[in-house]
Subunit: 437 residues, 2 copies
């Protein structure tokens, strides 16, 4: 993409309304623009990041055996009255009355809708287990939306719902999501730690939160230092027994400040690490909480009806954009992990209009594009080199490839790694080889 | 994907509420399930088709130079009051009051929101032209939603918005979308015909509808038979002059029953074809209708402020799922064009449990998956062969690859083309070669 044709509205000033670094950087780097309180427009590079995260989440859900569907954003109140949550949910639920005076709402979550699908379409234990997931926009009418996409009102979530015949099978479904989450966050370039969590309004008695560690995180966390060194298992067989992996990842102490136990921490001594984290995933097993009131049951092997055991599993997809920035930035701007970067390479022509420089830069652009490398080509004629470097650092692409007249005369270009800051001069061929490897 | 693990809730009976064939087939083949009037759940194969259409639409928008963003579904009423449409829009607009008693709405379209983005972020003529698009869910509170996804309330649209300095430049933007639409519908396997259209509530004085021809289409259309033979130009240069292409595609008579002129049709004589069509795209040039009241202007080359010339360009993405089925089905079910089929191949094991048959079918499944071919593997142990064939015809995958004990003993499998009905016995190797070619 040529920047001269793109839409990258970078702000020079830091917006005063932004209290946290990810919010400031998302506004400054032109990722988002506020439409109304807690409601954002996703601008081109922001939306590219969001879609990359979404795709990684999707692939790891698919790999675990979950099946993608899409439920509507606007729901009828009827199913919420059946589950008993319509009156409980309070003012966070955005309630809507349609032209025929029917009570509707903008879904804050989809337990009721998916249970309604399942009860009408699945009749036999032979069709179990199943895990249906979606990646869909939701709305929670927060009283004080803030921190940009970290606590917005309209937000994108992955939510999965498992249906099983009994608790043991439901526990296996829970374990599959637990491991899928480890894989997902690792692919996003993040260190995420599962912590035993309160179940809150979703209900149930087994629940874990996944928190990304970031110095600027919203929650205090207390973890055994061994948690920080665990590696995510490779090539997991999701048909196999995942309990050992889950046991391993829950064997050491890890708790948010809401759930922590001072007595246990005292025992840990030097092994205790106190840090900060951002919640990016939450998984629940809640048994028959929804299936029983909503009549979601199947005929079991013995011919008797069985209420299904359910769990639900969320990942905050739009929140992750902010969370990744909180965990990965410096004073100059964002530092994207390569897996979610809006482009892999920022190609900077420091003197557009200079024929020799243009020839090298245009050729590099064409060859990188032809090789399938995502490049943002800063070909703007009316910006100084310094402004181009500042923009490149701010938007945080993993690699900056700098082409200028002096280097071109000497037969070299400069390749900068955004994360390490390391700059290396090399031939055009060497730069191409490195970026297309 | 193994069907035994998938979620494909096929209905045996034709649902009585469905009046048109696409709605019937989408319910029967398990593509959608109604949640509330005009609001649908997208089940796994339906959602796969929707996403494939979305991706083709996206690629053709990108190729034409449009830039993807995402605007929120929930909008503030303020921008609609600025444009003057808030009171005009009537009951089709789903109005919402949030917890702080602010007037909000679920966007039926996004002219106001995108104009608000543009006016705040683009200040100079040097940043023009621009075309920003999104693929986003919208809501129109239809008084009588019907025909399934063809006239639903919550629906997915691609909507693009162009911004230009003057009418001539805006006309070029219009032409780029015109040609992008020809490419898009051709890639979807459809014959789409542009027709001069009324501009309605969007406003403006230049507009075309694109209609897919289908015997069961909602609108009568009258076209010069030459329109049916036109081919879509290949490898268009979107930086070049597209006027000749647009002129060619608008040179012959084509009109919907709403706009047709009997006198012109009489002149055509035998060249007139009367058919039926389904509207799947609509493009508008409307000049300064929104930019002027909303103050969307830039500094022009002479230092004076200029109100921007705008157009908007829609494709009904979810509607296309129904429209393609209307145009491509038979008595047995759907016939997907390969570009949007949920899977390319239905692999049918007609005797699961028979060791030799399982070995061949499992091996074919593994090899097709490894080659990146999308396969739905009907490995169900409890269904008769007849039911499997009926399901395969109903869901309409382009190829059915049938593996049974008799064929396996003779060293052959059967490959059926869903569209032509042609069945050919061939070796496993030949079938693999054909399907991975």
């Amino acid at each position: 993409m040529r920047l001269s044709r793109y839409f990258l509205p970078v702000l020079k000033e830091t917006p005063s309304e932004a209290q946290i670094v990810s919010h400031r950087l998302m506004l400054r780097a032109g990722l988002i623009r506020q439409h109304a309180a807690g409601i954002y427009n996703w601008l081109p590079i922001g939306y590219r990041v969001l879609r990359k995260i979404e795709q990684i989440v999707r692939e790891e859900q698919d790999r675990s055996g979950a099946i993608e569907i899409l439920m509507p954003t606007v729901q009828t109140a009827e199913v919420w009255k059946e589950s008993g949550r319509y009156d409980d949910y309070g003012k966070e639920m955005l309630r809507i009355v349609d032209r025929h005076d029917r009570d509707m709402l903008y879904g804050p979550t989809h337990e009721e809708v998916v249970t309604d699908i399942f009860r009408s379409m699945v009749k036999s234990y032979k069709d179990l287990p199943k895990n249906l997931y979606q990646i869909q926009w939701k709305f929670r009418d927060e009283v004080r939306p803030r921190f940009g996409v970290m606590r917005g009102r309209e937000f994108l979530m992955k939510d999965a719902y498992s249906f099983d015949l009994d608790e043991a099978s439901a526990r296996r479904a829970y374990n599959r999501m637990f491991v899928a989450y480890l894989n997902t966050f690792a692919r996003l370039g993040m260190k995420a730690i599962p912590m035993r969590a309160a179940t809150g309004p979703i209900g149930g008695n087994l629940s874990h939160e996944f928190l990304i560690l970031a110095e600027t995180g919203e929650s205090g966390v207390f973890v055994h230092k061994g948690m920080l060194e665990k590696t995510v298992p490779a090539n997991v067989d999701f048909d196999g027994d995942l309990q050992p992996i889950v046991d391993d990842w829950t064997s050491l102490y890890a708790a948010t400040d809401e759930m922590h136990e001072a007595s246990k921490e005292a025992e840990l001594g030097d092994a205790l690490v106190s840090a900060r984290g951002i919640e990016v995933g939450h998984i629940f097993y809640f048994g028959t909480k929804y299936s029983k009131p909503m009549g979601c049951k199947v005929v079991g092997p013995d011919g008797q009806d069985v209420d299904l055991h359910m769990g639900s599993y969320g990942i905050g997809v739009s929140r992750l954009v902010g969370a990744i920035i909180e965990a990965s930035h410096d004073d100059a701007g964002i530092i994207w992990p390569e897996s979610v970067a809006p482009f892999k390479v920022g190609l900077i022509n420091i003197k557009p209009g200079d024929a020799a420089t243009d020839a090298v830069a245009d050729d590099l652009y064409a060859k990188l594009e032809a090789a399938g490398v995502e490049v943002l080509y800063d070909d703007r004629a009316d910006e100084r080199a310094g402004a181009k470097f500042a923009t490149a650092d701010l938007i945080g692409l993993p690699w900056q490839l700098v082409v200028g007249p002096k280097g071109v005369a000497a037969g070299v270009v400069e390749l900068k790694n955004r994360r390490s800051g390391e700059k290396v001069e090399m031939s055009v061929e060497a730069a191409l080889a490195k970026l297309t490897a």
